[in-house]
């Protein structure tokens, strides 16, 4: 079996004088599901397109397996790519679309047909093989696109925001299908998305990017629980982590919002930003020392929990309460968070303080 590790070394990309990727280093293990995530313009799609051979590399090196592929044509890289708008050919039937991936294959015609049937069976599309794309739903079209990628048995699958065009329900369903597919075929997958929920649910490891730099690489729980900087902390998790600026006073932080919070651990900086996830900031129960107090400005009941938007000294803070709790706007509420749920960042460098 082909070993499909992917290595990016000091990868840069510049358009004229404007450098958009500034030395990306990443090792993807064989069979790993890696998700590149970040806001628009962070360079995630450019990285993927360079890996596919659709964009030239300005400097650095890309290796797939033990081959440096910098100067290889896309077809020589043994990769397959699924695009955001499916890119299935409207004038061909599903069968021909899937079979198109075998264009350069040396298989005989019956072998090709067998392979198409196998892939269609895996994707549950056997009944739809003779249909034209216009007769398919969005999810089915995306499945055809995945089928066309699968049929060649590539060493690496590249997905460029493949679920963005689907509605919310279908997106959740396709997300599950892609995850199952990966568990079944075990091929290395590099998946680009701007949706952190997709990243968290799909990835073995997440690569968070911003402005052409990698911010953090880690498992979903690592990036959620131990964000390296304020950007990662706020990008991962919904709603975003509450960020409250303050100044160190002894072993406490005096927040601009008013309250003083005891630092979970010592830090050698003066300006600190405290980060607490809304899910970790709850209404204080009896016996718990409140961290801060806020006035409810908005209530969002989500069923299992209720999100509370509070005003704490002129700063908006989001907290959570059990689903059955529905405070009224204007009500004052005491909030509590465990010490280990309190993140500290250097306000000036924005880096996490260990």
């Amino acid at each position: 079996m082909i070993v499909a590790t992917v290595t990016l070394s000091d990868l840069t990309k510049a358009y004229g004088k404007a450098e958009v990727l500034h030395g990306i280093n990443l090792d993807v293990k064989d069979g790993e599901f890696v998700v590149l995530v970040g806001p628009s313009g962070c360079g995630k799609s450019t990285t993927l397109r360079m890996l596919a051979g659709l964009e030239e590399i300005t400097s650095g090196e890309i290796s797939i397996g033990d081959r440096v592929v910098n100067n290889l044509e896309p077809k020589e890289r043994n990769i397959a790519m699924v695009f955001q708008n499916y890119a299935i050919y409207p004038h061909m039937s599903v069968r021909k679309n899937i079979g198109f991936g075998l264009h350069t294959s040396k298989m005989s015609k019956p072998e090709k047909e067998k392979r198409i049937d196998e892939v269609a069976a895996i994707l549950g599309m056997t009944e739809l093989l003779e249909r034209k794309p216009s007769q398919l739903s969005g999810g089915q079209r995306q499945r055809v696109a995945i089928g066309r990628a699968m049929v060649r048995d590539p060493s690496v699958f590249l997905f460029d925001e493949p679920l963005s065009n689907l509605d919310a329900q279908l997106r959740t369903q396709m997300r599950l299908e892609i995850k199952k597919l990966h568990q079944r075929v075990g091929t290395t997958i590099i998946f680009v998305t701007h949706d952190q929920v997709e990243a968290m649910t799909l990835a073995d490891r997440i690569v968070i990017m911003k402005d052409g730099y990698i911010q953090q690489v880690g498992t979903p729980s690592e990036v959620f629980l131990k964000p390296k900087n304020m950007f990662v902390a706020q990008f991962i998790g919904a709603p975003s982590m509450n960020m409250l600026k303050g100044t160190v006073e002894g072993d406490s932080v005096k927040l601009e919002a008013g309250p003083t919070i005891k630092m979970p651990h010592k830090a050698d900086v003066k300006d600190i930003t405290i980060g607490i996830r809304p899910s970790a900031l709850t209404t204080a129960k009896e016996g718990q020392t409140p961290l801060m107090e806020g006035t409810v400005s908005l209530v969002e009941p989500l069923g299992t929990e209720t999100l509370l938007y509070l005003d704490v000294g002129g700063h908006e803070v989001i907290a959570s309460a059990p689903g059955r709790v529905h405070p009224q706007p204007g009500e004052k509420i005491a909030l509590y968070a465990d010490a280990e749920e309190i993140h500290m960042f250097d306000t000036n460098t924005q880096e996490a303080l260990a």
């Binding site: 596919a52 659709l54 077809k75 695009f83 708008n85 890119a87 050919y89 409207p90 264009h103």
Partner: protein
């Protein structure tokens, strides 16, 4: 399955929802619009009606302006169809129009695709240069074409008649605009699937602009089928005449045999009608698409 009662209810509902024709208020602007459209329609159809009418008249009746001939005859058709030259000109026109259509559609699509999908230095200059030729009328181009044909020894040859039409600026522009509507993802997917650039153009991009290709094919075919000035200038031998040029030779020393010219012209419209009927749905779709992509 719907039962009869259901169908009745639906039909009643539809009846109520649809305004009755006679109940609609007549809008004076709508009436004026219809009158103008009808006038325009009549204006366009009249030459064809006269052409057919004249083709059914005897020579002495030609200058009688009545649409319906006094003594209709098919003798003119018999005469023209028995004259071997008609078939020769028809064939010449068919060969020339077909070859130029195939060639122009292919080259226009190829150049349009290249200008649309490839980044290269001077791309805009090439595009503007091609577009600028659209602003020069054919009558002015005839002189350089003639000099070119003369210098290369193409006068009085098929190639001489065809060469100005093997690629067209209009077609290049049209195809470039249509290829803009083909998302790059399709081409990149094909590139990853292992197709070379020519195969991507031919197997992926071309099928996606079929309506535009069909519309362009009709425009070019009709243009070449009815071309008169250039074939007249470049040919001397009657065996190379195209149909429009050949038809003008239906004249004797003192007079023009209009009834024969009109008969030939009426016969010459048949292929254009066939081409149009086959491809009209593509033209309409093409125009609609062009409108949408604006």
């Amino acid at each position: 399955m719907a039962n009869t009662a259901d169908i009745k209810v639906t039909a009643d509902a539809l009846d109520k929802a649809t305004p009755k024709r006679h109940a609609r208020k007549q809008d004076p602007i709508a009436i004026l619009r219809w009158i103008l459209l009808m006038a325009g329609g009549i204006l366009m159809v009249m030459p064809i009606v006269y052409m057919i009418s004249t083709s059914l008249k005897w020579p002495h009746e030609i200058y009688n302006l009545s649409i319906i001939p006094e003594e209709p005859t098919l003798d003119n058709y018999a005469y023209v169809l028995e004259d071997g030259r008609f078939y020769m000109w028809f064939l010449n026109s068919l060969i020339i129009a077909t070859v130029t259509t195939v060639s122009a559609v292919l080259f226009d699509a190829l150049v349009g695709y290249t200008l649309c999908k490839f980044q290269f230095r001077g791309r805009m200059i090439v595009f503007v240069a091609i577009l600028s030729t659209l602003m020069i009328p054919t009558e002015m181009l005839v002189i350089p074409w003639y000099l070119m044909a003369k210098n290369f020894g193409w006068l009085d040859t098929y190639w001489g008649i065809m060469f100005p039409g093997i690629m067209t600026a209009f077609g290049t522009f049209l195809m470039k605009q249509f290829f803009e509507s083909v998302p790059d993802d399709f081409l990149e997917a094909a590139r990853i699937d292992g197709l070379n650039e020519f195969q991507i153009w031919w197997r992926v991009a071309m099928p996606m602009v079929k309506p535009a290709l069909a519309a362009l094919a009709i425009f070019i075919f009709l243009g070449n089928w009815t071309a008169f000035i250039w074939p007249l200038i470049v040919t001397n031998s009657p065996e190379l005449y195209t149909l429009p040029v050949g038809l003008t030779t239906f004249s004797v020393e003192q007079s023009v045999q209009w009834e024969l010219i009109m008969t030939g012209a009426a016969l010459a419209t048949i292929p254009t009608l066939i081409v149009f009927l086959i491809f009209q749905r593509f033209i309409i779709r093409g125009v609609v698409m062009a409108g949408l992509k604006g």
